[in-house]
Symmetry: C2
Subunit: 108 residues, 2 copies
């Protein structure tokens, strides 16, 4: 885990299924979920790395914020960089099997 | 299965994960999902039976339509009545494990 400031996110017991589903019920955000779920390491947020070259930076930030506020991802700010990772263990603890089901069903 | 007209719904192979997540990413619709998932028989659509006495009939219809168009439910019209059921087998075939994960995680 990189050092730096962790942006605001819900505690694990505050993560709500309906907010997670809302966050993932959007094509761009479901794509990002797949990107972060399949990254062994934390991702930087460049549009190219995220496969979102067609989107404006502010649009990407908007989607990132919704994922983070729903409890799907964590964002750490280190200097000018942001590192995002899926809260896989937290989601698994809160909603067992959800991440796996989503990944299996969106695999290609 | 009651006779009558089946309202338009996507074929099984047209059901998309992102649309299912969008449909369920709303408190009222996630509640309805639980109602239909736990009903052994098809439900009529009275607000009382659905636990939605606080909502206007047109609002309930709106939510029902989104669930149906996403492929989550089937609606059959028989005379003046509508019978709704979860497309449990279709969802299980398309996204194995999803219904169970959602039910387990929203159980109270």
């Amino acid at each position: 885990m990189a050092e730096g400031e962790l942006l605001p996110q819900p505690d694990i017991e505050e993560i709500e299924m309906v907010k997670v589903l809302h966050a993932l019920g959007d094509p761009t955000r479901l794509h990002l979920f797949g990107v972060f779920a399949r990254s062994d390491v934390q991702c930087d947020c460049s549009a190219r790395r995220l496969g979102l070259e067609h989107l404006h930076k502010s649009t990407i930030s908007h989607h990132m914020r919704i994922l983070r506020e729903a409890g799907v991802t964590s964002t750490r700010v280190v200097g000018r960089n942001r590192y995002v990772e899926l809260r896989r263990d937290d989601l698994e603890s809160r909603f067992p099997g959800l991440v796996e089901v989503l990944l299996t069903s969106t695999d290609g």
